[in-house]
Amino acid sequence: MFDTPQMENVPILEVKNLSKNFKDFTAVNNLSFTVNKGDVYGFLGPNGAGKSTSIRMILSLIYPTSGTILLFGNSIKTHRASIMKKVGAIVERPDFYGSLSAQKNLEILAKMQMEEVSKNRISETLDWVGLLDRADSKVKTFSQGMKQRLGIAQALIHNPELIILDEPTNGLDPHGMKDIREMIISLNKDHNKTIFLSSHILSEVEILANRMIIINKGEKLVEGDVNEILLSGKQNLTVEFQNVDIALTLINNSKYKQNFKSVEKNKIFFSIERNNIPELNRFLVQNNIDVLAITPTRTLEEFFLSLT
């Protein structure tokens, strides 16, 4: 239903030196990144980092102060119709015409694509997001979670290649979040959609994205493969000891004192470069320290906090 032909990696979204200045502050400053076909691209940053502003610029809701944005190799200024046929988006909280039914809302938004979208397709889309039984209900009676699903539905009805999701799980309970995540995975894996996912929920991006960018105060901090980013830099390491006191004395008298973070019961917590973990292991073994377990506990959240 939502299938897109598989192609070699080609840039679908190219953002170069994008900046946006408002009257009294700079929301986005010289931002550049590329989203390739087939990516689930995580767009991360704390609140106020400039994520929504960037997305709005990509979708031409806001005009950049400088920089270029190319979608499918073209500028939206000159190729709007052809580009927007291939893009579906939710920008922040999805809002609909409350006095109209879900079905009617989708019909209106579908017609605005200037394409024939059959009622059948709308029903299929509603079914896919789990709202078919509420197709004729007025949207004002929907819960937040249902509106989010409907938001995804409106982004999908015209079978776009690129789906831009701005905080899609906002306001949802864990069940709702899980459903949305599964939809995103399915769209990417089963239907070859490219997903541009903006979120401040880092675990979400960690689970879903293959590539990502982290921004703060409108500037890029890091961009690349999620796993590579996670594996770079210092890791959190938890080492469980038979006798933590002996281990603690040894650590405090060694160069690994600088990596010591804290101790709890029989565990010592280290912050250490991933490459140095084997060396620490050897050091402990050579000094006859009985190690029960070594567990890296590095998360994106910690990485993010360390960056921002």
Binding site: L59, S60, R80, A81, M84, D95, S99, I108, L109
Partner: protein, 281 residues
């Protein structure tokens, strides 16, 4: 063009799915009904009292309280108040979607901003036209049914009496002219709607401007007389020119042109602003 047509149909559909769009029609119907009933009950006495001075000198042969007179009365009374009803809907067309958040969805489709705002503007004009037509049909039908037809008695600085067969086209033309006038009001509210994020502000601003212009026009100071030609409200009232003899066609056409220019100007500014503004809501 085809896109704009499709968008306009959608806008009209959305407009009439809102309850507030029907308030104006309900109000018009109610007011027409009330005025007609009041004239049935007391119209003759009132009219006699109003023309008492004239009756001291002249004999009145025939009946002037007829359907055409009631329509004229309704025109005079309601055209002062309809602007508010028009602003209520026109002011909501963009600002309402901005505050509701649905504007974002509209602007992330294939249609350009110019196409979208053009469709909304056409809808705005369509609504005000429909409202005036509804008023025309309601008042004419009810007036003629209740009071029949007859000659029309109009009091201005001169008293005009128009023969029955000379009245209907004037009334229809007046409603036609009023469509222009109300479209100007609608365009102004639409303009404000394109600048704000809530639909109350355009309504208030539109009414403040109309009321201010009307008050300033009515004060008999030379400075206000000088600026009066620059108030569009001055030309909105010129439907009354259709009830003069001889007909001042050039002044009438001039008024039409001025109103059309105002409409075009308001739309131009709205489109320019809408095209360039950042959608932050």
């Amino acid at each position: 063009m085809k896109n704009i047509l499709i968008l306009t149909k959608l806008e009209i559909y959305k407009l009439f799915s809102k309850g507030r769009s029907y308030i104006a029609f309900g109000a018009i119907a109610f007011l027409v009904f009330v005025i007609q009933i009041a004239l049935v009950v007391d119209g003759e006495n009132f009219f006699e009292f109003q023309t008492q001075n004239l009756r001291d000198t002249f004999l009145f042969e025939g009946n002037l309280l007829n359907g055409y007179l009631t329509v004229y009365v309704i025109l005079t009374a309601l055209l002062i108040h309809i602007p508010f009803l028009i602003a209520l809907v026109s002011g909501d067309l963009i600002a309402g979607e901005t505050s509701a958040g649905t504007l974002r969805f509209l602007l992330t489709r294939t249609s350009s901003r110019l196409e979208i705002i053009t469709a909304k503007f056409i809808t705005c004009i369509f609504y005000s036209t429909l409202l005036v037509i509804a008023m025309a049909v309601l008042s004419l039908v009810s007036g003629i049914l209740l009071f029949g037809k007859g000659d029309l008695f109009v009091v201005r600085d001169t008293i005009y009496i128009f023969s029955e067969n000379d009245v209907l086209w004037r009334l229809i033309a007046s409603f036609g002219f009023s469509i222009l006038g109300m479209s100007t009001v609608a365009s102004l509210a639409f303009l404000f709607s394109s600048f704000t994020d809530n639909s109350v502000t355009p309504i208030i601003l539109t009414m403040v401007i109309i009321i201010a212009f009307m008050i300033l026009s009515s004060i008999d100071l030379s400075i206000f007389k000088m600026i009066k030609p620059f108030f569009f409200t001055t030309y909105m009232n010129n439907w009354r020119l259709l009830f003069e003899e001889p007909l001042n066609l050039s002044k009438l056409i001039n008024s039409c042109l001025v109103l059309v220019l105002h409409i075009a100007f308001f739309f131009g500014i709205s489109a320019w602003n809408f095209n360039k503004k950042d959608i932050l809501s």
